[in-house]
Every structure is written in structure tokens, then in C-alpha cells.
Amino acid sequence: MRLLLVEDELDIQSFLKSSLEEAGYQVAAASDGKTAELLAVDGVFDILVVDLGLPDMDGISLILKLRQLGVRAPVLILSARRSVDDRVRGLEQGGDDYLTKPFALAELLARLRNLLKRNSPTGNEATKLRVLDLELDLLRREATRSGEVLQLTSQEFVLLEYLCRNAGRVVTRSMILDKVWGMRIQPDTNVVDVHIYRLRGKVDGKGQAPLIKTLRGVGYVLGGS
């Protein structure tokens, strides 16, 4: 996957570049709008990460310009502003996404994956998810581990489904709140943790290898990797 990273803060650029490379992207970096334009026209990118505050132009103008130049790749917008302005909202409706700084790396990666998935429809969605010996039947809303049916509430099923879809990858608490409960809030209490503990109590029975692992300070990961 080729990724164009447009970020003028060199500190942030370098740490993003190495993290993204570690995640398997081929990263080209630009620190201003002009360079980004040249790079985008020269090469073909699957996805773009654009910071809004660039020294020579507004990030939105850059994106609009690139669109005019025929760049079709989805864009993830990084914004230092907390409140997202309407123009970003407009772009978001056009299929792009945004993330406000500071963000968890795991969330950046998850959003990039989402954007790429959205951009390349892959036929029919699977009706079953399988992670090791855990199996989710999405049609019957039923989860089994080693053939044994798990007694989950519907909310717990949604949570487990989200973890399964991101199996092997870190999901943060705010990602879980966003995707499972549809809330973009920063919980300063352990509301998510308690749900995870309960789910873990049902999924990871006695004598079974724990499937749901906690990464302190970051979030959770399902399955081994």
C-alpha cells in the first residue's frame, strides 16, 4: 500500500512515517502543499494522510486541488482543531475521514484500514467470522468457542464482533466507544474496561487460552499475533 503523508511538523512526520512503515505502508512524506502536489501527480497512491495546517496552503485546498488533478485515493485528514469545521465535514461525506490531534496510533491505523476497505468493495460480506477457535455467526447472532455456544447479550455480541473484525490489531477504548456505542467521548472512568472484563469472562472460559488481551495505556487486542 502506497501512502502519501503530508505533515509539516517534522517531529510528527518522522514518527508517523516510521509507525506507518512498520504497519506495512510504503510512505512518501511531504512537508508542504507544493511538494505534496508534485508527489501526488508523479506517483500513484492508495491513500493520503493530510494535515490541515500546512505552511503554504490550507489542507482542504490541497485536497480539492488534488481531486481536480484526478487523484482519487481516499484522504485521512489530521486536524489540530477540536471542533471539526464544516468543510472537513463536507469532505467526510465525500468518503474521506478525519482525526483530531492528538490521536492513538492504533486509531490512525484502524481508520486507514477502514478507508481502504471502503474504497475497494470486496464482494459479499462474510456471514461468519473465525478467530482461532472462536466463531461468530453474523446472521444468527451467535458466538461459539470450541463449539460451545456463548451466552452473550446483543451488546456483547456487537463488541465481540468489532474485536473479531480487528483481530490481531489493537483497538483503543475510544475506538470501541465510537464503533460499538456510537459515542465519540473520552471516558475518564473504566466504563469500557468493565464491558471487556465481562465479555472476557464469557469468552475466555476456565482452562482456555485467553483471547482478549489488554494492552495497558493503549487498548485491547483479540487473538494472538
Binding site: S83, R89, M183, Q186, N190, G217
Partner: protein
């Protein structure tokens, strides 16, 4: 700084105001006088004319009835003489001056028959001859050798002769002159008096304003505790002083709040930053991998908290400045609360708390979903942090006409009395609270941005109660 003495009197506002007031007053009284004068003058003339007409009729009668002969002249002269003693407008006691009245009779050819009057009759005859026109209205003549004009009335008697009776305008002019003189004196006094009163009052008034402005000038950043002198009087200037003092109260309170906030802010930023720095150092020097990892994790948690704190602080600040941007959309509030209750219930149960939601009907509002999520998350977090084990939280949502009401009540210890009054202010937190003191300030800010209100009280059972009211359709807002 100015003082009353250093300010030249001629440049003071009091002087200008009184000068203009005196001018207006003088002009007004002058107009009144001029119209009075015109009226008096015309009235005196009318009375003179009436007297002249009456007298000339008497003289005409006498002249007609008295047989023309040696006695005729004497009789008429006698009557004319008598008439001159009854001249109107005369000052009592003063003897009749010789030139007050004249009597003149001419025959058909216009030749002089009788002359009773001052000096020679010729200059009068010269003046009267040209005015032999028909009508007998009183008229005025100016005679050579006499400085004052005469008012003259004539009558024709049957034998063809004409009788003229003239009255000097001297008495009339003297009355008017006295009138003018007295008025001028009175007028001058009145204007002076008016000026003095206006000047004294405005000077006193403006003196109070000046003392207020001097006192206000003495109040600077270092000493906000001073107040301008407030008089007990409820007039405009008293109000000005009171308004200024109230404004100063608010400024002082705001400054005090600012000092408190910056102090608390410094503390809130400094402690996590210290923790981050220390833990990062530890992660560099620690030999054991687990210790290193733990230190870094602590840093991330501290930073997350810091970001959350900054976001909330900025939201509250924006909302206070009415700059909170709402992204309004229709919201099923009952469903939203149900899913929030579902999210929070397990962790509340972990703490030995119970959570209940009472709502019997679907309730839809227009609002900013993300902000409302955070608002309710804030309220629920508060309950989790402050409520001790074994208590219950009840949320109720209901509709009341055009209003949607939400209440959250617990059966805990309630708000402390000193906190309750200021619970929605920034940086106010209960004793022992580990929060940043922004939670309820944020709730208040979001409620107001949605056109709603929020109240805090202690319920009947003594527990804390938050009542949140929103217009059912808040879509008519600015955004």
C-alpha cells in the same frame, strides 16, 4: 489628573450649560416682554383715543349750543381748559403741563377761530390742514417745535366749523418708558438669578460626576477593591455610581476567578507533566523491561487525561463566549440515554451503585449528538466518582409541553452547601474531588448552547439532583 481648581471655570461644562440656559431664558422672557409691550402700547392708545373722542364730542356739543358771540370763545376755552385737567395716564398729584392738550376750532374756510394750547397755533394749523380728509378716526401729527407727537381727534359741527382736540403722547410714552425701564431691570435680575441657579446646580451635579471619575481613575489593576463614592440619592448620578460599583464588583470577582483558575490550571497541567517527565526518565534508566513498559504506559494515561482536560476546558471557554458550534441533528434522546445507561451500568454495578432509567415515551430533540453524549457521560462520571457504595442513581426523562426535562438524582450525601451555589462555575469542585472542576461547568455550557437550562439541588431525600431542561425543538437556534 484633573482637579476642580485646576480646571478653568470658563471651560467647565457647568459654565457652558448655564450660559446656554441663561441665553434661552433671556430670549424667552424678552419675547414675552415684547408682546406685553405691544399689547400695553396699543391699549394705552385705545384709551387715549376713547378719551379724545369723548371730550371732542362734549366740546362739539358745547360749541354748538353756545351762541356765537363774545362769550362763545370764553365758554369753549373754559371747557377745553377743564378737559386738559382730565388727561389720562397722568401721574397723580402732578400738575398738568401746559403742552399736554390743545384745542383748535376752524371755520368753514379753515381759518382759525379758537386756539387753546401751547405756543402759537400756526404750526398746528399747518399740520392739520392737509389732513382734511373725510373720516374722523384719530390720527397722529408731528408738530414743528415740539419733540413729541400729538394724537388728534376732530369733529364737525353744524355751522361748518371743525373742532380739533389734540393730546400729547408724552404721558403715554412716559408710561411705556417706565414699563421698559422696570422690565429691563427685572429682566437683568431674572437672567442673572436663573444663570446663578443653573450654574450652581450643574456645578454641584458635575462635581459629583467629577469625583466619581476621579475615584474611578484611582482604581487600577493593583487595587480593584476601591469603590466610587455612592450617594444615597437615587438620581441618575447616584445610579451611575452604583452601576460603576456593580461593574467593579463583577470585574473584581472575575479577576479573582481568573487568579483561581490560572492557579488551578497551573496545578492541573503541572502534575501530569511532572508525572510524564518522571516516568519517561524512569523508562530510560530502568534496567527491567517491565518497569520501563509500565512507566511508558503511565505516561500515555497521563497524556490522555491531559488532552481530555484541555478539550473540556476549551469547550467550556468556547461555550462561555457563546462560540460553541453545534452540529444539530435529530436525536432520539430516550434511546441515546438507554444506550448510555447500558454503557455505564456494568461499571457502576462494579462500584456497588445501581442505575435506573425511567422514560415512558419516545422523545426526540434536535441537538449536537457528540456534545450531548459528553454531557451525559460527564453527569454519569460524576455519580461514579462521588457516590459511595450502596447508593442508587435514577435518571428520568419526560416531556412537559414544549420542554423536555431530564433529571438525575441519587440518594447519596448531596452537594455540600458551599459548593451547591457555584456548582456550575468553572473550577469549583467538592472537597476531596479529584476532578478538574470542569464537569458541571461543561454541562451548563452545553445546556445553554442548546437553549436549555440546568439546575442543581439537593433532593427531598438529601441526595444530589440535577435537572436539565431543553426545548423540544431547539432547531430554531443560531446554527
Amino acid at each position: 489628573m484633573f482637579s476642580a481648581e485646576a480646571r478653568p471655570l470658563l471651560h467647565s461644562a457647568a459654565w457652558r450649560i448655564s450660559a446656554w440656559a441663561a441665553l434661552a431664558y433671556a430670549l424667552g422672557t424678552l419675547i414675552v416682554f415684547v408682546s406685553l409691550h405691544l399689547y400695553v402700547a396699543s391699549d394705552i392708545e385705545r384709551r387715549d383715543d376713547a378719551w379724545l373722542t369723548g371730550e371732542v364730542e362734549v366740546l362739539g356739543d358745547v360749541a354748538e349750543r353756545t351762541p356765537k358771540g363774545a362769550l362763545y370763545q370764553r365758554v369753549v376755552e373754559e371747557v377745553a381748559e377743564l378737559a386738559s385737567h382730565e388727561v389720562p395716564n397722568r401721574v397723580a398729584g402732578e400738575s398738568a403741563p401746559k403742552d399736554a392738550v390743545f384745542f383748535l376750532e376752524t371755520d368753514t374756510q379753515g381759518k382759525l377761530v379758537i386756539w387753546v394750547g401751547p405756543g402759537k397755533s400756526d404750526p398746528f394749523l399747518d399740520q392739520l390742514r392737509p389732513s382734511h380728509a373725510g373720516n374722523d378716526a384719530p390720527f397722529t401729527i408731528q408738530t414743528m417745535g415740539f419733540s413729541l407727537p400729538y394724537r388728534v381727534v376732530r369733529t364737525h359741527i353744524d355751522d361748518g366749523s371743525t373742532i380739533y382736540l389734540g393730546l400729547s403722547d408724552r404721558d403715554q410714552l412716559r408710561v411705556l418708558h417706565m414699563f421698559r425701564l422696570r422690565f429691563a431691570l427685572l429682566w437683568g435680575l431674572l437672567v442673572l438669578f436663573g444663570f446663578a441657579i443653573v450654574f450652581a446646580t450643574t456645578r454641584r451635579m458635575l462635581g459629583r460626576v467629577l469625583s466619581i471619575s476621579e475615584a474611578a481613575a484611582r482604581i487600577d489593576q493593583n487595587d480593584l477593591s476601591a469603590r466610587v463614592p455612592a450617594s444615597l440619592r437615587k438620581d441618575e448620578i447616584g445610579q451611575l455610581a452604583q452601576t460603576l460599583n456593580r461593574m467593579l464588583d463583577r470585574i473584581e470577582a472575575a479577576m479573582h476567578q481568573l487568579h483561581t483558575i490560572t492557579g488551578a490550571l497551573a496545578h492541573d497541567l503541572r502534575s501530569p507533566l511532572t508525572a510524564v517527565r518522571g516516568n519517561l526518565e524512569l523508562s530510560l534508566t530502568a534496567a527491567e523491561g517491565a518497569t520501563r513498559q509500565e512507566a511508558i504506559i503511565v505516561c500515555m494515561e497521563e497524556l490522555d487525561r491531559l488532552v481530555d482536560f484541555l478539550n473540556t476546558a476549551l469547550d467550556v471557554a468556547e461555550a462561555k463566549a457563546d462560540a460553541l458550534r453545534l452540529n444539530r441533528e435529530p436525536i432520539e434522546l430516550d434511546q441515546m440515554l438507554r444506550s448510555m445507561a447500558e454503557l455505564y451500568e456494568p461499571s457502576m454495578n462494579e462500584r456497588g451503585l445501581t442505575l435506573r432509567l425511567e422514560c415512558t415515551e419516545p422523545i426526540q430533540i434536535t441537538g449536537d449528538l457528540a456534545l450531548l453524549h459528553r454531557l451525559f457521560a460527564n453527569l454519569l462520571n460524576n455519580e461514579m466518582v462521588h457516590l459511595s457504595t450502596g447508593h442508587a442513581v435514577t435518571m428520568r426523562l419526560w416531556r412537559e409541553g414544549q420542554l423536555v426535562r431530564f433529571s438525575m438524582e441519587d440518594n447519596g450525601a448531596g452537594f455540600a452547601a458551599d459548593v451547591l451555589e457555584r456548582v456550575f462555575e468553572q473550577r469549583v469542585r467538592g472537597a476531596g474531588s479529584k476532578g478538574h472542576g470542569l464537569g458541571l461547568a461543561f454541562v451548563d455550557a452545553v445546556a445553554r448552547a442548546h437553549g436549555g437550562t440546568v439546575h442543581a439541588a439537593n433532593g427531598r431525600s438529601g441526595g444530589a439532583r440535577i435537572l436539565f431542561t431543553l426545548p423540544a425543538q431547539s432547531g430554531q437556534g443560531t446554527d
